[in-house]
């Protein structure tokens, strides 16, 4: 073994974000104006836009200062079957998976094994001959 690294994933690329959401079974739309359900919020969010959305009130928007995609959603009307924190984790995990898949292919690696473990982690082994 040569090195062991831990990386905190941040969502920075739109194609892999879209792939992650599709993998999770959501109907993905791009560049949508979101709907405000709570009339009290209407004025604050007059321009409520998402680069990638899965519902008319849940999506992700690029924060141009950090270069990362952030969740935009109205907390009062959150109606997915998972809590917000878990939803973000699941999207981040699948995003990391697609980023690894796409990058290793460019580098000439092939996937040898891919397992979903009982602790919900994904184990992926890739290799190439040089």
């Amino acid at each position: 073994m040569s090195h062991f690294t831990k990386i905190k994933t941040s969502i920075k690329n739109k194609p892999e974000l879209v792939e992650a959401l599709v993998l999770l079974g959501y109907d993905v739309k791009e560049d949508q104006q979101l709907t405000i359900n709570n009339p009290n919020h209407a004025e604050d969010h007059a321009d409520w836009y998402a680069d990638v959305s899965i519902k008319n009130d849940i999506g992700f928007k690029l924060n141009k200062n950090t270069g990362e995609y952030e969740l935009v959603a109205e907390l009062d009307s959150w109606d997915l079957d998972v809590p917000i924190k878990r939803f973000v984790e699941k999207v981040t995990q699948q995003y990391a998976r697609m980023t690894v898949h796409n990058t290793i292919k460019e580098m000439g690696f092939e996937v040898e094994e891919e397992w979903e473990m009982t602790d919900n982690s994904i184990e992926l082994t890739v290799s190439r001959w040089t």
Partner: protein, 69 residues
């Protein structure tokens, strides 16, 4: 002789990625995974393992001739 390079990724349920590289020697190892690490996010822990200090692979097979007078 062809050599097998392999990378094992563990993607935790919160999206944290743990990466272990095998069969790559010396600095080539960090160069290999820099691309993936830059795309994923921020590296917050890195530990070299034994091969990091090995410059070339050790030849595990040797031919020995036995001469009997």
């Amino acid at each position: 002789m062809p050599r097998r390079e392999s990378i094992k990724f563990t993607i935790r349920q919160d999206g944290t990625v743990i990466e272990t590289v095998e069969g790559v020697y010396g600095n080539a190892c960090e160069n290999l995974t820099r691309n993936i690490e830059e795309k994923l996010g921020e590296v917050y822990f890195r530990e070299p393992t034994a091969d990091q200090f090995q410059v070339v692979p050790i030849d595990l097979e040797q031919n020995v001739a036995f001469h009997q007078d």
